[in-house]
C-alpha cells in the first residue's frame, strides 16, 4: 500500500487531494494506490466498500451481464469462510464490500483487486452458469417493468432484461471490460476507520473515470401509462436529484398509505420511494397493490392522490413529520461513518456532497411550496403501470404498444392463418399481424440472437421484440443471412442449439376432418384439366423462348417471334395462374 503523497499519478494530482484532508463531519479524504478513498472512524469491526463506476446501464443488450460476470470472477477466490462480504452489480455501480477485522478487510480487498488485475478465466463458463441460475431465481421490485417502457433496451432499461451477453462473451471481452472499467480512476474506496489498514495492495490498471450513462427514451409523451400484468399500480417519474424530491417521496408514501390502506382498505402495501438514478437525476416510485375486485377503485384513488398533491393540498403536518424523520437520521453516534457509503457514492458519480450541517439546513428549508413543485414535476414525467383498462381518462397517454410504421419490402406470410406476415426491407424488418405490428430497424437493433435451427430473435432500441421462426413463416435462408449481415455486428449473439421441443411449429390444423373441406372429386378433375395444358403450354413457351434467345444472340429477337412468344405466354398464363391458385388451396387442405 502506498499513501499517495508523491502525486506520482497524474489523475491523483488532478484531484488535488494528495494530502489527506478531513471535513467538518470528520470524513477524511485521501488516495490509496491511486484510488480516491474516504475514511471515518467507527467502533466495532471494520467495514469497507470498493465502488466502481460501472454497472448494467453501461452495457449494451448484447454485452449485458459482463459487469456482473467481472464481479463474480473477482469474488471467486472468496468462496468459503466466515467473512461477511458481498458484491453487488447495480445499474450505475459495482460494489465490493466487507466487514471484519482489519486483516480480513485487507485480505478481501487485496483479493478483489488481484482478481481484477488477472481474472480467473478458467472459471468463466462456471460463473456464466451461476449467473443464469441467479437470474432464474431473482425477484424484481415493482418498478422493474417500467424501466423497459421508459428507456427501451438501452441505458437504464437494461436492468429489465436478462443478461443476454452471457451466451457469447469471451474471455477477451471480459478482460477488456475489466481493464477499462475496473480501474483506479473509476473507483472509490470507503473504510470505517481513522486510518488505512496496514498491508493494502489495491493496484489496478490505470484508466479513466466514466460519467453515468445518458438516459435513452422509449416514451414519446408523458404522463403515460401501460397495462401491467400484476394487480398493483406503479408510478415512476424521473426528477432532478434534490432534498425536496426526497422529502416529497416520503410525503407521497404517507398520503398513499393513508388514502389507499387506512381510509379505503383497497391496498395492503401502499408506499413511495426516492432512488438516485445517476449524477443528476432520481427516480420517484409509488406503488400500491390491490385485490382483483378492488383494482378499479385503487386506480381511481391513486390518480386522486396525485391530483391532490399536484393541486398543492399538502399538509404542513406531513412535511413536518417527514422532515423530523429525515433530521433524526443525523442524531446518531458516529455520524460520519454512517454517512460514509453515501459520501463515497456521491464521489463516484460526482454528485455534490453536503456536510451534515448543510444537509440539515436544506431539509429545514423545504416548504410545502417546494413539495408542490416536485409533485407537478413528478406527474409531468409520470409513467404509470395499471391493471386492466388504461388511464387515458385521467389525462395520460398510452405508451406505444406497437410500432408506428412497417417497412416496405418483401413479404413472407405465415404458414398459419392469423399470424400475419414478415416484411423484410434493406434497413429493417416488420411483423404485421392482427395482434399488432412491430418494426425493428437494423441500425437500432440492440440484440439479434441467432439460433442454429434458423430462428432469429431481434430486440429494437425501443424495446420491441420480433421473433423470426422459419418454421412459422415462409422466409428463406438467404433472406435470413441478409438480415444477419444488416444488423450491427456488435448486436449479434450466436446462440447454442435449442431443445427441438422449443422450436415452435405451426399448429396442426386438420381442416380435412371438418365438413365441407374434404378432397372433392370435381376439384381433382379441375386440377388435372388446368394442370395438363398448364404444364404443356408452359413448357412449350419456355422452350420457344430459350430457342429464340439462343438463335438471335446478337441482334435481338425478331418482332414476329417476340409477338408469338408473348401470345404463348398469355395463353400459358390463362392455365398456369388458376392452376397454381387451386393447387395452393389443395395443399392447404381447403378443397
Amino acid at each position: 500500500m502506498t499513501m499517495d503523497t508523491t502525486a506520482d499519478r497524474d489523475s491523483a494530482a488532478d484531484r488535488g487531494t494528495t494530502t489527506p484532508t478531513t471535513d467538518a463531519d470528520g470524513i477524511t479524504d485521501t488516495i490509496v494506490d491511486g484510488i480516491r478513498t474516504v475514511l471515518a472512524p467507527r467502533s466495532g469491526p471494520l467495514t469497507a466498500g470498493l465502488l466502481f463506476r460501472v454497472g448494467r446501464a453501461d452495457e449494451t443488450l448484447a454485452t449485458s451481464g459482463i459487469t456482473h460476470l467481472v464481479e463474480h470472477l473477482a469474488l471467486h477466490r472468496h468462496g468459503l469462510g466466515d467473512l461477511h462480504y458481498n458484491g453487488a452489480t447495480a445499474a450505475t455501480y459495482t460494489h465490493f464490500h466487507v466487514t471484519g477485522t482489519p486483516a480480513d478487510v485487507v485480505e478481501y480487498l487485496n483479493g478483489v483487486c488481484a482478481a481484477l488485475r488477472d481474472l480467473p478465466m478458467d472459471r468463466l463458463d462456471t460463473e456464466k452458469e451461476i449467473l443464469r441460475t441467479e437470474a432464474a431465481g431473482k425477484s424484481h421490485g415493482p418498478g422493474h417493468a417500467a424501466t423497459l417502457w421508459r428507456y427501451g433496451s438501452r441505458s437504464y432499461g437494461l436492468t429489465a432484461y436478462a443478461e443476454a451477453g452471457l451466451h457469447h462473451l469471451t474471455a477477451d471481452d471480459v478482460r477488456t471490460w475489466a481493464r477499462t472499467r475496473f480501474t483506479a480512476e473509476n473507483a472509490v474506496l470507503w473504510i470505517t476507520g481513522d486510518r488505512i489498514p496496514e498491508g493494502l495492495d489495491l493496484k489496478l490498471p490505470a484508466g479513466a473515470w466514466h460519467p453515468t450513462p445518458a438516459a435513452t427514451s422509449a416514451l414519446p409523451v408523458t404522463p403515460a401509462y401501460f397495462a401491467g400484468d400484476d394487480g398493483g399500480v406503479v408510478l415512476t417519474a424521473v426528477v432532478p436529484r434534490s432534498t425536496e424530491a426526497g422529502l416529497f417521496a416520503e410525503v407521497l408514501g404517507k398520503e398513499l398509505f393513508r388514502e389507499l390502506r387506512q381510509k379505503s382498505g383497497y391496498s395492503y402495501t401502499a408506499t413511495a420511494d426516492y432512488a438516485p438514478r445517476d449524477t443528476d437525476y432520481a427516480t420517484v416510485i409509488a406503488y400500491a397493490d390491490a385485490l382483483p375486485q378492488k383494482q378499479d377503485a385503487l386506480v381511481g384513488a391513486f390518480v386522486d392522490v396525485f391530483a391532490k398533491l399536484r393541486a398543492g393540498r399538502i399538509d404542513q403536518a406531513d412535511l413536518d413529520a417527514v422532515r423530523a424523520s429525515a433530521l433524526a437520521q443525523f442524531d446518531t453516534p458516529e455520524l460520519a461513518a454512517c454517512m460514509l457509503p453515501g459520501h463515497a457514492m456521491n464521489l463516484l458519480v460526482r454528485h455534490r456532497n453536503l456536510t451534515a450541517a448543510e444537509a440539515r439546513a436544506e431539509i429545514e428549508a423545504v416548504t410545502v411550496a417546494d413539495l408542490h413543485r416536485v409533485a407537478r414535476a413528478v406527474w409531468a414525467d409520470a409513467l404509470m403501470q395499471v391493471p386492466g383498462r388504461g388511464v387515458d381518462w385521467a389525462g395520460l397517454t398510452a405508451a406505444p404498444a406497437e410500432s408506428s410504421e412497417v417497412v416496405t419490402g418483401r413479404r413472407y406470410s405465415a404458414l398459419e392463418e392469423g399470424n400475419g406476415a414478415l416484411i423484410v426491407a434493406d434497413d429493417g424488418i416488420s411483423l404485421s399481424a392482427p395482434r399488432g405490428r412491430v418494426t425493428i430497424r437494423y441500425a437500432e437493433c440492440t440484440l439479434l440472437q441467432v439460433y442454429p435451427d434458423g430462428g432469429r430473435h431481434l430486440v429494437g432500441g425501443d424495446g420491441f421484440t420480433l421473433t423470426v421462426e422459419p418454421t412459422l413463416y415462409r422466409i428463406t435462408a438467404a433472406e435470413l443471412a441478409r438480415l444477419d449481415a444488416a444488423v450491427p455486428p456488435a448486436s449479434v449473439v450466436r446462440m447454442p442449439p435449442r431443445d427441438p421441443g422449443r422450436v415452435p411449429q405451426p399448429r396442426k390444423t386438420t381442416p380435412k376432418a371438418e365438413p365441407g373441406t374434404a378432397r372433392h372429386a370435381w376439384f381433382t378433375v379441375l386440377l388435372w384439366v388446368l394442370g395438363i395444358p398448364a404444364v404443356v403450354l408452359g413448357g412449350f413457351t419456355a422452350l420457344s423462348a430459350f430457342v429464340a434467345t439462343q438463335a438471335s444472340r446478337d441482334d435481338g429477337i425478331p418482332p414476329e417471334d417476340a409477338r408469338f412468344l408473348l401470345a404463348c405466354l398469355i395463353v400459358s398464363a390463362v392455365f398456369v395462374v388458376p392452376w397454381g391458385l387451386l393447387l395452393r388451396r389443395r395443399q392447404q387442405g381447403l378443397n
Binding site: 378499479d296 386506480v299 393540498r313 381518462w393 389525462g395
Partner: protein, 331 residues
Amino acid sequence: MITGHMIRRVSAHPPLGRPVFEPADRIPALTALRGHVHGRNWDSVAGSFAALTDEDDRALACRVVAEQQNAEPFLNQVMAGDPRDPLVRTLLADRLIQTGWGIRSGYRARHVSREQFQQFHAFLRRAEVLLIDVCAEYPDHALAWYLRVITSRGLELGPGETRRRYERLAEHHPHHYSGQQQLLQQICPKWGGTWESAHGFAEECAKAAPPGSPNGALVAVAQLERYLELREKEGDRAAGTYLRTPGAHQALLDAAARSVLHPAARADAYQLVGAHSAFAAAHCAAGRHAEAAAHFRALGDRASEFPWSYVGSHDHEAEFVRHRKTALAKG
C-alpha cells in the same frame, strides 16, 4: 301539518293543464339562470348558484346550464379568464357530459355504434380531466364529485370506482339524492350490479336521510328500474305482478311517508317533482291509481320526464296526463 295539506289542496285546485316537464320552465330561479347563460352573464350565473344552499337544488341548476346548447363557448371563455374557478370548470364538465351522452343516445349499449362510443368517451374524458382537478382542490365539492359518479359509469371505469366516487361525495354530503340516483344506476343489473344491491342501497339511503327529504324516492326508482327490465324480458304482465307484490307495495308506502309525503318535506325543493313522479309512476304501473293521487295532487302541472318515459308507451307527456286523470278520478 295543516300547511302541507293546504298546499296540496291549492295546487290541485286550478284546472289541470298541460304538464310542464322542463325545470327551467317551472322554477323561476332556473328560468332566470337559463337567461343568464344565454345572456353570457357569468356574474349572475355564479350568483344564482351562490343563492342555492341545497346541493340537490344545485345539481338540477347545473343540469339546466349544461343542457343549453350554446353553453360551451360561454363557459370556455369564462374559464379562460379564471382558470381556477371551480364552478365554471364543473359546469363546463357537465356540458361536455351532456354533449357526450347526447351522442351516445339513451339506448342500451348494444344499439350504440363503436364510433358513437368513441366520441362519447372522448367528451367524458375531457370532463373528467376538469373534474379530477376540481375534486383535488375542493374535496367537498358536491357537484364535481356527483358528476364524477356519472363519468365513471359512462367511461366504464368499474363499479368499485363509481362507488368510491360516491363515497367521496357522501363523505361531505351523506344524503346527496342526485348522486345516490347515479350510483343506483351503476348498481342495477344493466350496469353490472344486482337487484339485491340496488334495492338494498335505495332502502339504506331512504332510511338514513332526514324526514321529508326526497331520498325515499330511490325506493320507487329501484322498483321502476326492475319493472322496466321485466317489461323488456318477460312482458307487461310479469312486470306489473312484481310491482304488486306486498313487499314492494309496502316499501313504497313507507318510503313515501318518510320522504315526500312527510310534513317536513320542503315544498320548493327542486327534486320534489322528480321524487313525487317516481312514486306516482310506480303506483300507476302497479295499477294502484288511487294511491298515486296524493303524489299527483302535489305535482299539479309539474312533472319530470323520468320516470314517465319508463311506463306504457314511453311517451312521457301522454303517460303522465293519462295516469294523472285516472288517479285523480279515483283518489
